[in-house]
Every structure is written in structure tokens, then in C-alpha cells.
Symmetry: C2
């Protein structure tokens, strides 16, 4: 094992977007991280990637003290594959797991920014997943609850707020829209690979005794039902569709 | 190949510190990156890591159009291992290589910061490698030439300058010193893994036709001679030592 032996070892994985990410960290440092674009090959790439990262870090599964996992919002299939893989890894064990909402991991990339952080994640049909956070004493504080909105609703959503900073992969797609509509805001983007930030969040939550031991409780964070499920519901009862 | 076939594919590797880093990128996006702490196991980890990253990106060596490599300043042995590996990869081929000074890759992590960026890299004996850059129209401009100084010389070095921002792994080690001596400066730190930034720099230099085709011209960027070499010179001629 590369880390000091009494260090808490955290492994996080995030497959909630096509930017897949695996990270292994000690309490204060990254030991190893592997980030890749999945492009529909996630299922065949994820396990070999996990094996490789752990092997080169000279770690066995039993050396991992805490797991972090991205639960979305994001790509439905990606999230399901990630959660299923994690449940496989911890099968039969009582290991602390911290489910991490994607927005929070994005916000952690900008923990020194004093503005209100607005992570935007691209959804389909000109919609975006969004939320609002600030950092207070090193911890994230939720200012706007996670939501799925049409991009044109963003202005209404941020009414009466100022000094904000758009972050996340949505800022690339809607860059012109944001510049035109929010002249005084900041737009920042960094890598969309999130497992390293999930390790940091997981360690913090672990220290606060805020974790899950029962794999059944690890659930995706959905703001919209999968297309397939919605279609199925639609065909069952066209009047009862509620898109959340 | 995961990228669009007419995309320029860049592979960069950096082993100039214990934060080893391999990245493969297209013109505008990262395809795959693998970062790990070497802890004296670099030689045995680097080739398997390269193989793994390329295999999962479904790329062969012949698919790489441009190479970037970290040439220091940093760990002498790490830099030599990195350059030797790169020379092996391009053996017998005429492929563009961009040697990247470590400072520049660190500065690229902060390309939106308007202050004068001062990357600090830890050297031994309370010394730091340092330089000064600003970003102008997306390009890096050298304000202070790379140097190796005692940490206590930093104040003299930055005399008459203001609005600067310390970056790089040196800010962790000298955090208190910097806070005490430069009250109005910013201190920022992000991941010390640099290959992804080296891909960006390499692509930019490649577009500007600023690359090397002859492997013999790929040289480490040393600001201090290796200890072994200095000792050897000392024993040969004690009066002629010039630590560059």
C-alpha cells in the first residue's frame, strides 16, 4: 500500500456522465485517479479500470475504508452502472458508502470562489439540471435546491440573486446564452471528471458519521424519470404522467 | 479510436514530480487521463500505465499525432525516466514533440486568474523553483524567468510587483511563510497532476509550428545540476563549480 497504513483510504467512482472517473485517496492526498470518456463502452471499461487503478496503487478491496459514488443527476444508464458496480464491490461487507450528488462534486472544484456557485448539467431537450451553493467554513451550503428546468427558465430561477458563477459542463453548451443573459456573472469551467472531489466529500461526510452501511439505501438522485419508464407510464395512463 | 478520426490526437506524460500523469486528448477534449503517486516505483509503473491508458482509449502508438512531455524543473530522476520513455515511444519516427516546462503547465490550471501567477515548486534545502507568468489573449507571457532561489529570497525577487497569486505544490509547504510575508497576495492550489495541461500547451504549440522532430533535442530543463554531477565536479576541480 502506497499510503501511510493508518490513513483512511477512500475510493470513489462516478459514471453519471460520459466523463467517467475513478479516484483513490488518502485523507489528504490523491493516490491514483483514472478518468476516461466512456462513449457507450462503460460496462466493458469500468471493471478493468478499477482493477488497474487498485493494482498500481497496490491496494486490495479490503484496504478501502470508505466508498464514494456519484448518484446523479446525469445519465440514467451511467448512474445505474456505477451504483450496480459499487454494490457489487461492497457485497456482503459493512463498509461506509457516501452517495454524492453530482452538483456538489462540481462545486467542490471551486471551493475558493466566493460567489454563489450555479452548477449546470446538460439534460436533453434544452433542459438543464441546476442548483445553487456557497462555501461557508469549508462546507457546502445549499442555496437553491437541485432542479430540472428549461434553459430559458434560468433567469426567473435566479431572480433577485446576484454575484453568481456558472460552473459545470452546461456552461460550454450554453456559453453564449449565459453571456447574453447574465452579463455580470462569472462563467468558469474545469475538468468534468469528478471522482477526486467525491473522495474529498466522502471523507468529510465519513468524519461527520454521515454515511450508509446498507447497500439497499444507495439510490440514484433523479430529477426526471428515465425516458423508458416515462414512456411506459404514458402508455399505461396518459393522464397521470408526472415528469419527475 | 474514441475521438473523431480527423482530430489531432495528443499524448502527454509528466514525471517531473512524484505526481505522475499521463493524458490523451483530442483538440478540444480529454479522452483519457491517468494520474498516480509514484513513490519510487515510477520505472515499473509507467509503461503498464501507458499501455492501459492507450488500450482503453482504443489507440495505438501510430494514432498519436503530437507528444507533450514535462521537462522540469522538478525531480531529476523522474524527468530522466519520462524523457527516456518518450524517446523510446517515438524511436525511429518523425513525430512532433513539445517539451513543456513544468511551471507553464501549472500556470495553465489558472488561465482565468488575472493576477501575476507565481508557480512555486519545492526543491531541497529550503529552496524553491519559481517563475512568473500572466495570461494575455489565451497565451502565457513570461514576466519572471524561471529561477531557483532560497525561499527567503522570494520577497526580494518580487520587489516592486503586486497583485500576484502563488500556485503549485510549493504553496502547501510554505503556506504560513507566504501568508506572513505577502499579506495581499492570493494563494491557490489545485491538483499537481499536469499532463492534461501539457496536452493543451502541446496542441497550441503544434498549431504554431513550434515543436521538435529530432529526439536528441529533447532536453531536461534544469535549474540546478543533479547532486551526483555537482559532487563529481567538486571532486575534480573545487574552484570551477558553477551550479548553473
Amino acid at each position: 500500500m502506497i499510503c501511510e497504513t493508518n490513513d483512511t483510504i477512500i475510493l470513489s467512482l462516478d459514471t453519471s456522465s460520459k466523463n467517467c472517473s475513478i479516484s483513490i485517496a488518502g485523507e489528504n492526498k490523491i493516490i491514483s485517479e483514472y478518468n476516461f470518456i466512456s462513449d457507450n463502452k462503460l460496462s466493458s471499461l469500468l471493471i478493468p479500470a478499477l482493477e488497474f487503478v487498485m493494482k498500481t496503487a497496490k491496494l486490495e478491496l479490503r484496504d478501502i475504508d470508505v466508498f464514494g459514488v456519484g448518484i446523479g443527476p446525469g445519465l440514467f444508464t451511467g448512474i445505474r452502472v456505477g451504483l450496480s458496480t459499487l454494490k457489487g464491490l461492497i457485497f456482503g461487507k459493512k463498509v461506509p458508502v457516501i452517495p454524492v450528488i453530482t452538483f456538489k462534486a462540481i462545486a467542490y472544484k471551486f471551493y475558493k470562489v466566493k460567489s454563489l456557485l450555479i452548477p449546470l448539467i446538460q439534460a436533453k431537450r434544452d433542459e438543464v439540471y441546476m442548483a445553487g451553493y456557497t462555501f461557508a467554513n469549508g462546507s457546502l451550503k445549499e442555496i437553491i435546491a437541485p432542479d430540472l428546468i428549461h434553459i430559458k427558465q434560468l433567469k426567473t430561477k435566479l431572480l433577485n440573486l446576484n454575484d453568481f458563477c456558472f460552473i459545470g459542463d452546461g456552461v460550454d453548451i450554453y456559453n453564449n446564452f449565459l453571456k447574453d443573459n447574465f452579463q455580470n456573472s462569472k462563467i468558469l469551467n474545469r475538468s468534468s471528471f469528478l471522482a477526486t472531489e467525491m473522495c474529498r466529500i466522502a471523507f468529510q461526510e465519513y468524519q461527520n458519521q454521515n454515511f450508509i452501511l446498507d447497500p439497499k439505501k444507495i439510490k440514484p438522485f433523479y430529477l426526471r424519470k428515465p425516458d423508458a419508464e416515462t414512456s411506459f407510464e404514458c402508455s399505461q395512463d396518459k393522464n397521470s404522467r408526472s415528469p419527475q
